[in-house]
């Protein structure tokens, strides 16, 4: 049987939740598809307070934002259907999406789609990178903050972007020691305030350093790091071995865009946005009519921007079906202004230049 619906939102993270809420509020019938058994995406494990402004729920913790947005979705009654444990496995050229919903094969033909699938973590290649004890930062955060399990006793963090800094801080909160944070760039990539938080808690941050290898008989027992030059070449005689039982890799994210490739969206490789991203217009519609994007799949950014993009994509997808409230123009302008503000500072320069390359008419 083929389900028909106004709008399918793929992904129940910050962007997808906002898209579903906004489109339902405008009057569209929405099907929200979430791969996990619970809504929230990465929000559920983000136990830190968010940056941004009140409009993006700044100062609230990610897990509380997730609950709030999920609850709001419940207020639309039958207008919103949520399928959890539902992985979209295919997006076909005729607009049909296929789903593994709790082991049952389902097909849906939505009039519009918002793809908000988020991102996956990049990995590093170094000798013994397959030893038990080497995790992505996302996995460490899930273990600790969702399941209450410590990944180990002493962690070496690779990457001083916001995720590496935040996960280091959360490891300390969980009572795990962090041996050091290693960063390949000559400067800290994440916000200085995050760096200061872990620094005063006694964690060294080693910039212009990289991991050379991991060692251990059955699992990680140590990691060897070294200083690197601007060309990322290891400087001789700077190697150090650090005892640790966990190596946590936090070297960036890449958009999880395979459904957009399948749908036939025109893609472009833009390093500053994390990899291949779909071209889009100012309504966040891709080159395939009716397919909208929001959040990290459109380019790696902070969750605050993902929420605003979700709202904009939900608003536009609903409007294109005729669900347009009197406040449509006002809301659209508000989204645009919020995004412009979030992206206007020096820390967002990469994002601005990347987005300029991802525009299409």
């Amino acid at each position: 049987m083929m389900y028909e619906i106004d709008l399918a939102v793929i992904g129940g993270g910050p962007a997808g939740l906002m898209a579903a809420n906004t489109a339902a509020e405008a009057g569209a019938k929405v099907l929200l598809l979430e791969r996990d058994g619970h809504l929230g995406g990465q929000l559920v494990k983000q136990t830190h307070k968010f940056f941004g402004s009140e409009e993006q729920h700044a100062s609230m913790r990610g897990n509380d934002i997730s609950t709030m947005l999920g609850d709001r979705l419940g207020s639309f009654g039958e207008r919103v259907t949520v399928w959890k444990s539902a992985t979209v496995i295919g997006f076909y050229e005729d607009g049909v999406i296929t789903i593994d919903h709790n082991g049952i094969y389902k097909k849906v033909k939505p009039m519009r789609v918002v793809v908000a699938t988020g991102a996956s973590e990049k990995f590093l290649s170094f000798p013994n990178n397959d030893l038990p004890g080497i995790y992505g930062a996302g996995a460490v955060q899930t273990m600790m903050n969702v399941y209450g399990i410590r990944p180990g006793q002493r962690v070496l963090m690779i990457g001083a972007g916001n995720i590496g800094l935040i996960v280091s801080y959360q490891l300390l909160q969980a009572g795990v020691s962090v041996a050091a944070i290693v960063e390949g760039l000559p400067h800290i990539g994440g916000y200085a305030v995050h760096a200061s938080k872990v620094r005063r808690a006694g964690v060294p941050i080693l910039t212009s350093h990289t991991i050379v290898r991991a060692d251990g008989a059955e699992s990680v027992e140590s990691a060897t790091i070294a200083e690197i030059d601007r060309g990322w070449n290891v400087i001789q005689r700077t190697m150090k071995t650090i005892a640790c039982d966990v190596i946590c890799i936090s070297v960036g994210l890449t958009p999880l865009a395979e459904l957009l490739w399948q749908a036939g969206c025109k893609m472009r490789y833009i390093p500053s946005l994390g990899g291949s991203v779909p071209l889009r217009n100012d309504c966040l519609e891709t080159t395939v009519k009716g397919v909208f994007i929001a959040g990290d799949v459109s380019g790696i950014e902070e969750a605050s921007a993902a929420m605003v993009e979700g709202r904009l994509a939900g608003l536009e997808a609903a409007a294109s079906l005729g669900f347009k409230s009197e406040r449509y123009c006002e809301e659209r302008n508000d989204c645009m202004e919020q995004l412009a503000a979030l992206r206007s500072g020096p820390t967002a320069e990469k994002i601005r230049s990347g987005l300029a390359c991802a525009e299409c008419r």
């Binding site: 307070k49 399990i149 300390l172 005063r200 006694g202």
Partner: protein
Amino acid sequence: MLINTGIATQELIKKLIPSPERRARGPYAMVECFQEIPCNPCSTSCPFGAILPMKDINDIPTIDLDRCTGCGICAGVCPGLAIFIIDESKGDGTATVTIPYEFRPLPEKGETVRAVNRQGNIIGDGVVTRILASKKTKTPLITVQIPAELVYEVRFLNLIDDKSNSEEPSSTYQSVVTDDLSSKVLDTVEIDDTAGTENDEDEIIICRCEGLTLGVIRDLIREGYTTVDEIKRISRAGMGPCQARTCGPLIASEIARMTGQPIAEIQPSAHRPPVKPLPIEFFLGGDSE
């Protein structure tokens, strides 16, 4: 520099220190936020308008110390935990610093704690005089009395008998490792090794699902398989459960390195449904609802 170390320089801190008169008058906030980032809760939360409204959300906060009462509301909401409340008005050689502290267990009122500086070093002792645990922000504010001369240094605290190690901090966390790492040498060992050899690198697992090493991938590239799809078809790289999400970018960057092509021009492997391996019977089952 702050951006290299995560430690605010003395120069940055000095700019925040108010006039001697203001310091003597009563508590005030020190907003140690030196980078333009998109964040404004400090200015929108201040009930006295002491943290001035921002024209641009990326503005660095500016504080009007005549209006600041040192109430600590901004310190509780600041997502960066970058605001500290200083009170030097007692004039008896002691001062207090209020620190946003998100660790368990919390110290108790009257407890002596170690006073820690921005570098993470213990520089003295302090006594906890007040604990403000807001349910709204979930960021407890701990006020610590310290020698007055340390008030611009102390920004963190350590508990003296490390309760977090002597007992499980509630039962929130359980440990997956059973053997005690602390019995092993934890110190950094300096070695004067040279860089990893090419042979070492050849053993690196690139495709975990199919067990393919970097050596195998390099051999294939040398043989002339120079697209991700060609390597996939000849070796099965990327055909396991992860569907190339881990190995795909690693293979692409190795092709770029060895062939000199720009990474932007290396096509990822073709994306076709399904996005994850599924048994054929799944597709036969269908939706019987």
